[in-house]
Amino acid sequence: MDAGAAAPVIEVRGLVTRLGGAAIHDGVSFAVPGGKVVALIGGSGSGKSVLLKVIIGLLRPAAGSVRLFGEEVWALPEDDLNRLRRRVGMLFQDGALFSSLTVAQNVMAPLEEHTRLAKPGRREVARLKIALADLPASAADKLPNELSGGMRKRAALARALALDPELLFLDEPTSGLDPIAARAFDRLVRSLCDNLGISVFLVTHDLDTLLGICDEVVVLGRGKLLGQGTLADIRRIDDPWIRDYFAARSTLEA
């Protein structure tokens, strides 16, 4: 698409993370180009979700640098970090919707804090985002615990989209969804990326998501980067985990 999209939106250099003494990441470096859907895969416990938290500025790494839109996340003062976070949307694994607010109020919450929209405008935007996330309008006035798992994910996506982020983080977006809902969610993410030019960085275990919508894949394993590239590049890498990972569904692939 446009030329500006080629600049990396995420740059991780020599990242070392320790949790309770154990090294989770031991010198991980990679860059995520803009305007693409990039997946982060890795075995359980390989530190994918932790990496997401480090990138978004929730968990401080022991060493290394993380740049979002070219800005050093862990060197920014709090105000600048929050300004940076406004350009980013995050979909948590279980939605993390505010349980005391309706879906519409959940979407309106960031609008109230960060924009100068008047109340009717906020309500309009909430209606739009709910529609963008493929939720029926009737879901707007429901509380999160009145929604099914798939609808909760969509509601969380609507909230993540509230401020029109340039970069969207998705933590296991299709986990807990049935295959039909999961593929619909994939298509939704892809169309957001294609139409709105949003960069998407997602953690997933779902091979179908990987094969269906991802432009690039980043593989983590044993605290290191095992590889990065298109799906074809990744499959050529000689690593037991990667072999097993793709073998897990080879029976279904023609």
């Binding site: 446009d2 349980s99 100068r116 008047a118 405008g121 739009l128 139409n195």
Partner: protein
Amino acid sequence: MGETPRLTGDAASGRLAVGGAWSLGGGDPFLAPAVPAGAWREAVLDGSALTALDTSGAYALLQRLKAAGIDPGALRYEGFDARQLGVLRLVAERWPQEGAPALRPAPGLLHRLGYGAEQTRIHLLGLLAFLGRFAVEAARLLAHPRRFRVREWVVQLQAVFVDAIPLVVAMVFLLGVVFAYLLGFQARQYGANIFVVDGVTLAVCRELSPVIVAILVAGRSGAAMTAQLGTMKVTEEIDAIAVQGLSPFDVLVTPRILALLLALPLLVFVGDVAGLLGGMFTVRGQLDIGYTLFFDRLSSVLTTDTFLVGIVKAPVFALFIGLIACRMGLVVARDARAVGFATTSTVVQSIVSVILLDALFAILQVRLGI
């Protein structure tokens, strides 16, 4: 950034021009001007002066076009870049359904009163059912004592009784001091110094210690039980216990209530001692009633009846605190807010029931002449 969205039309050339920032970062796009009057069917929409366009701006723009009776699909778009066209396309594709659901009307006073009364009725019935369930489980436990979860009971006893001792001692001791001081202040005027010992003893052992200890336990242990069981319910741990073929009632509720049943009388006794000590130190300093005289008087005032009247209330208070706390924990809805509500509700209900039960005991004592 910060540029207000503009929408202007040139009727002669049939061109509509959008300009400025149609985005959340700019002015409020939903306050942008409407399409100027004119015939704009199949007009050209010129976006070359746009500085920003996001989904919200695109939505506001399309809303304005539609409000003027223009079909956005029939317009010719000029000066938009690929991304902006993508945004417009996506928003048009996923247009929110018309007719937003009507907001639920705020219920009137009568509605709320009726709702509250009905909820209270359901709640009281639920509590009664829970009491019945506990009675049945307790009876089964008598038949099969080996099913009793001793370890959980001991853990609860530690939390409810042992850990609460310092708090109870401090609170009732201070109450004893205050009560003796105020009583002594009055009694001295009539030369009735020695009766302060009577007053302190009766007040502490019959009322102050049982009621204050019960309220402390309701606020401390009752709230903790509701919060813990409620959180376990939210995280489906209680279902996990049931799926393993265990009864959540056996595993969680019975040990807690039985721990309370034993702990509260013991705590009331601790409170009695602390309150009397507080009174003893006070009367010595204020009224010159020495320790020997105090104990001398105490032995005639503190009859077994007086002591027992206070102590027998405790298990009854404990039963209700335990029932309310465990039931509120188990009926919590599955979200974070509900746990908070249930915990608050436990404390309020427990304290109200302790006071009501105490009043009942007072009436009973008068009738029985104790």
